[in-house]
Symmetry: C2
Subunit: 200 residues, 2 copies
């Protein structure tokens, strides 16, 4: 275990929205965020089989390139009856040849392929902190639930209309952003990181 001391932290992302989101979360802890994108670092190939592996690849590459601690995330939908798929391929399953996304097709594929009666699945986010000496720490946040067929609701994005959190009756696609926010897998992962490495 290692605490993140006030100072510079590299966010291993080339996504400006994600950079802003994490910078706001980290600022109260005295952390100044630089992003891999603004530093001109190359994007490493995400060759891992799990969210944890891909986030580790990104965080370690950024930490070693800069000599600073680095933070990366990876997330997606894991369907139990499909052995955790689409998992790291969550976005790929919706990819059209022209680069646009077809989420209705990706949701239909899950309903066609998962024959388990329970239809259990989870949104999973993994955050990884890495230091230049090769030390890493990972934090997992999960939102357990089940998939429904047909999907319901027009809110949110991606697989949201497919997913009903455990103990709920409405899908993410039927919830307001505030309602959905109570279940955020990424917020849960960040809370674990905060308690462990930023607490006090």
């Amino acid at each position: 275990m290692r605490r993140l001391l006030p100072g510079k932290l590299v966010l291993a992302t080339h996504n400006a929205g994600k950079r802003r989101e994490f910078a706001a979360l980290l600022a109260p802890h005295g952390l100044e965020v630089l992003s891999a994108g603004e530093l001109g670092l190359p994007e490493p190939a995400e060759t891992g089989d799990t969210f944890r592996e891909n986030a580790t690849i990104k965080a370690l590459a950024a930490a070693r390139a800069t000599g600073l601690p680095a933070l990366a995330d990876d997330s997606g939908l894991a369907v139990e009856g499909l052995g955790g798929a689409p998992g790291v391929r969550t976005a790929d399953w919706a990819q059209r040849p022209d680069g646009s996304r077809d989420y209705p097709a990706a949701m239909a594929r899950i309903a066609a392929e998962d024959r388990s009666p329970e239809r259990r699945c989870a949104f999973v986010a993994v955050l990884v902190l890495a230091w230049p000496d090769g030390h890493t720490e990972s934090f997992e946040g999960r939102c357990e639930g089940r998939w429904i067929d047909p999907p319901r609701g027009g809110n949110g994005f991606g697989y949201d209309p497919l997913f009903v959190p455990e103990g709920e009756t409405h899908s993410f696609g039927e919830m307001t952003p505030e309602e959905k926010g109570r279940f955020s897998h990424r917020a849960r992962a960040f809370a674990a990181l905060e308690a462990a490495c930023l607490g006090g």
Copy 2:
């Protein structure tokens, strides 16, 4: 970061020698070691591309199967001019079809394939602690050096005759166990883990 509190820890190994070695290191910290082998847990497939991934696969599987924190290690030789090979395949490179090991052949393969003038390489060990909630921490220990051709000395085992630590003139194969012990990559990884999660 999370501290390992006194109590039970699962060592994710089926190797009795490794179980004894770690039990002795952990006993002074009030940790009672059970091993995956003695608990009858299955050995997960080590499908990772890196030491860290394989140790994470083993530690997480043991933590989730038992509901206890778990420790795993993975280690080997990484040759810079070969992109880190043999790496996770360090033992495989010496494997004969009948299951015995041919280390002279594996060392000759390195000398034949690495055309870089520096001949830089390192023995690397990664220890991973995992908890049932998916939190993981990794600790890396390295012993940097270079490979020599022909290999020298009859002490140690495996690739030891090939390897000369940085700043030294003798190979691991020419050192006594005590001399070699000063360079241990596994001891360095354990020292990092101890300082972070067991210190005080």
